[in-house]
């Protein structure tokens, strides 16, 4: 059955797709969103650790949808293994709203320096760092729009790394704060650091038809049951659908984008829930499937003008995959150090710690010689995932801990201390050993080639990650925490993906132009994190949201020309005669 035409077809419903659908619907345009996952509502989410985190009910089963991951061997070669064999997974949040359903809403803007890393710090051997084709000021109005439309709570304070803002403060006051925040503030002040309130994409007051946070304490990795979390689903798609201009189709797995002899995309083919092949016609197509799957879709969407994949004449699709670099630290504040009230406050479950440090967003202390790009340090409580925490208590150097020793260890673990964690974010440098291709052998349950992902890390990232984690650990020690440990991590976080379709001015070295329109396909946009040539030193979500709002504005501007001048030509060129004869409701 041929679908009715839409102005815009968006593939993917997360942080990249939601703003586009919302903006187009607000502009009176017709938009359809194709999402391969189910449409879960607020009422479908429970604080159930077994469901969310032990059985991974919100991501595809690797038996149906594996990836092939290439990891570096000790001898410098690469070992490829299917996730079906390894048991690991690169999936995150496959449902309407995507991974934004399961974020904890750590929201940081990128800073002006992030848009000009190459110019500011020079090249790094082995890394393909480039400047962005836009400036911070181009994105700033959209960061502000995200604050209003998605809902970001926070409090602006003066600090050396504060980025320019067009408004004096956040539209929503900070969420309730945990007593740990005070301990962090005092430690940072003693060390001469500038602890800042962490902005959260979580509503502290009811707004836009959404309820306030319930402070259950089970936030990150869990779906939000109140709508307070600024997921693309609750913040944007629900409103887009309510406006009447947006249709959301869950269980729609897009198999390919079909292009004509001119190279333009004419329709999206997808499998519906029953496995039937369907297709959607639209003037403009927007891909937002997360970086790996976006690249995979373009690579398998070959056509007469795109023999190596859609918009891939330059061979750049899939290259420069980014995760997030960094490190972590942790320590324990034992309750016996505090009086009854203080101890009780530290035991509280629900409020957010909401503290960050960005004093080393640029590291200019001479430790590395010339100034280097640094990153962000966030503080948080140990997540309330009791099963996960308990399983770690079974581990020891001498084998498993079980029996009464395990019980005493569990009692101590859960009763004696408040555990503080540090997460340090730095750039994951783009380089030639981190990329996505199509695996030549492995297929998913639809018979489509799966993504083969090489996950190489640039060693520079470990240096920066270790530096930042150590700074965080110093704060923990100043707080009086015991058992403080810090480490840098080279493992790619599965929930922080960007790159693979970088934007730029030169079609030979980039996939997208500055508006995130494909250089080679003028009715194809990419609006997820794939556009990012470098990722900044913070979680990507706010930037993806902001850029997707910016892209939506560009699409709105492009559409009127299509509608007035080219619509009839479009229909004539892309409606097969037999279909025109049969009418619009036939396959």
């Amino acid at each position: 059955m041929v679908e009715r035409d839409f102005d815009v077809c968006v593939i993917g419903s997360g942080a990249g797709g939601g703003p586009v659908a919302f903006s187009l619907a607000q502009a009176g345009r017709s938009v359809v969103v194709l999402e391969k996952g189910p449409w879960l509502r607020d009422g479908d989410f429970f604080k159930d650790e077994i469901a969310c985190c032990r059985r991974s009910e919100y991501i595809p089963d690797v038996h149906d949808e594996p990836h092939v991951i290439e990891r570096e061997r000790a001898d410098g070669g690469w070992q490829a293994r299917s996730t079906l064999e390894s048991g690991s997974s690169l999936w995150h949040g496959c449902c309407i709203g995507g991974a934004t359903n399961f974020m904890s809403g750590f929201f940081h803007r990128m800073k002006p320096v992030d848009f000009h890393l190459l110019s500011s710090f020079g090249p790094i051997d082995g890394a393909s760092v480039v400047d962005w084709p836009i400036d911070y000021q181009d994105l700033e109005p959209y960061y502000e729009k995200v604050e209003r439309e998605v809902g970001v709570s926070g409090r602006v304070v003066a600090h050396p790394q504060q980025e320019p803002r067009s408004t004096p403060d956040f539209p929503f006051s900070p969420t309730a704060e945990h007593a740990l925040a005070g301990h962090i503030d005092r430690a940072c002040a003693a060390l001469g650091h500038h602890a800042i309130p962490l902005p959260r994409a979580i509503l502290s007051t009811p707004a836009m038809g959404r309820a306030v946070c319930s402070y259950s304490g089970y936030c990150g990795s869990y779906g939000c049951a109140t709508g307070a979390k600024g997921s693309a689903r609750s913040a944007l798609l629900d409103r887009a659908v309510a406006s009447g201009g947006c249709q959301v189709r869950p269980h729609a797995m897009v198999s390919r984008l079909v292009s004509d002899r001119s190279g333009r995309v004419v329709h999206a083919e997808y499998f519906d829930e029953r496995g039937r092949t369907r297709r959607v016609d639209a003037h403009i197509f927007v891909v937002a499937c997360q970086a790996i799957e976006t690249a995979r879709l373009l690579l398998r969407s070959t056509g007469p003008r795109h023999p190596h994949g859609l918009a891939n004449g330059s061979g750049q699709v899939g290259r420069n995959l980014l995760f997030a670099g960094g490190g972590a630290a942790s320590g324990s504040l034992h309750y016996d150090r505090f009086d009854g009230a203080q101890g009780a406050a530290l035991r509280a479950v629900g409020p957010f710690v909401n503290r960050s440090l960005q004093d080393w967003y640029v590291i200019d202390e001479g430790v590395f010689g010339a100034p280097l790009k640094g990153g962000t340090i966030d503080f948080l409580q140990r997540p309330p995932a009791p099963i996960s925490r308990a399983t770690r208590q079974t581990q020891s150097r001498d084998g498993f801990v079980w029996g009464l020793p395990l019980k005493r260890k569990l009692e101590a673990h859960f009763s004696q201390s408040a555990d503080v964690k540090v997460e340090a974010f730095c750039d994951w440098l783009p380089h030639d050993d981190c990329f996505v291709t199509l695996d030549p052998v492995t297929k998913d349950s639809w018979g489509l080639a799966v993504a083969r992902v090489r996950t190489g890390l640039h060693p520079h990232d470990l240096r920066i990650g270790w530096f930042l984690a150590s700074k965080g650990a110093e704060v923990l020690q100043e707080m009086g925490a015991r058992d403080v440990v810090a480490f840098a991590s080279g493992s790619p976080p599965t929930n922080l993906q960007a790159g693979t379709c970088r934007f730029g001015r030169d079609p030979a070295t980039s996939v997208l132009d500055a508006d995130c329109r494909a250089h080679e396909v003028d009715n194809l946009f990419v609006s997820d994190g794939s556009f990012m040539p470098t990722g900044g030193s913070a979680p990507y979500t706010w930037t993806i949201y902001a850029n997707a709002f910016r892209v939506a504005d560009r699409i709105v501007k492009q559409l009127p020309g299509l509608s007035r001048r080219a619509e009839s030509a479009f229909r004539e060129a892309h409606t097969p005669p037999e279909r025109a004869n049969r009418g619009r409701d036939s396959r």
């Binding site: 429970f46 032990r54 079980w402 976080p493 922080l496």
Partner: protein, 208 residues
């Protein structure tokens, strides 16, 4: 993204990776969808049909008794403090293993571990595991831990045990939040709806 914003894939240590990999595969296969209402109802029906013999999920009544004994050793009961029996660990695992979508290989895995332990008990003590003293059981399980397959089996068994201790009661363990109360854990809300299979599994667990 998580309160832990950085979510890492399984740890990189080869030894740890092997164990985690096995467990992840096991969990994903054993319980993919095990929490759906229809699956649990089917599992409950399966339990009922075999309740008179105690056999289910490819394990004999004796093997379920042996498994319960292993779990009780790993998480023993104490006065006022729950152990495997009080958190319904055996019923919880039986519910998973009788899920229609649980692969046969997972049932084989569970049975193979028991067979290995039974052989080990027989060789060392000329006796069934269930008849061993507490100290002999410890010796047998530590010996099992030294074999790669035994280590993987015990790792998964411990993880399932702690799921029964601290998971939502709707999954069949942690009855009335007994594990949460012991360790002072405040559950999140809203809680998942009660699933029919949970109460069935509790009834069965008392018979093994």
């Amino acid at each position: 993204m998580g309160e832990e914003a950085l979510q890492k894939p399984p740890a990189q240590s080869p030894e740890r990776l092997d164990r985690r990999r096995f467990l992840t595969q096991l969990l994903s296969t054993v319980a993919a969808g095990a929490t759906s209402r229809s699956a649990l109802c089917a599992a409950a029906a399966a339990l009922e049909s075999c309740a008179h013999t105690g056999a289910s999920a490819g394990l004999s009544a004796g093997q379920w008794q042996m498994l319960a004994a292993v779990q009780a050793h790993l998480l023993p009961s104490e006065p006022g403090i729950p152990g495997a029996r009080e958190v319904n660990a055996t019923g919880y695992l039986r519910l998973l293993m009788t899920d229609p979508r649980t692969g046969e290989e997972q049932r084989v895995w569970l049975r193979d571990g028991l067979v290995e332990l039974a052989e080990l008990s027989s060789e060392r003590f000329a006796s069934e595991f269930i008849s061993l003293t507490k100290n002999e059981r410890e010796v047998a399980l530590r010996a099992l831990e030294r074999s790669p397959s035994g280590e993987r089996w015990l790792a998964a068994l411990l993880d399932f045990l702690l799921e029964a201790l601290l998971g939502d009661p709707s999954h069949g363990g942690n009855p009335d939040g007994i594990g949460w109360r012991w360790l002072g854990i405040t559950p999140g809300f809203p809680r998942p709806p009660i699933r029919r299979g949970a109460s069935w599994s509790r009834e069965i667990s008392t018979s093994v």
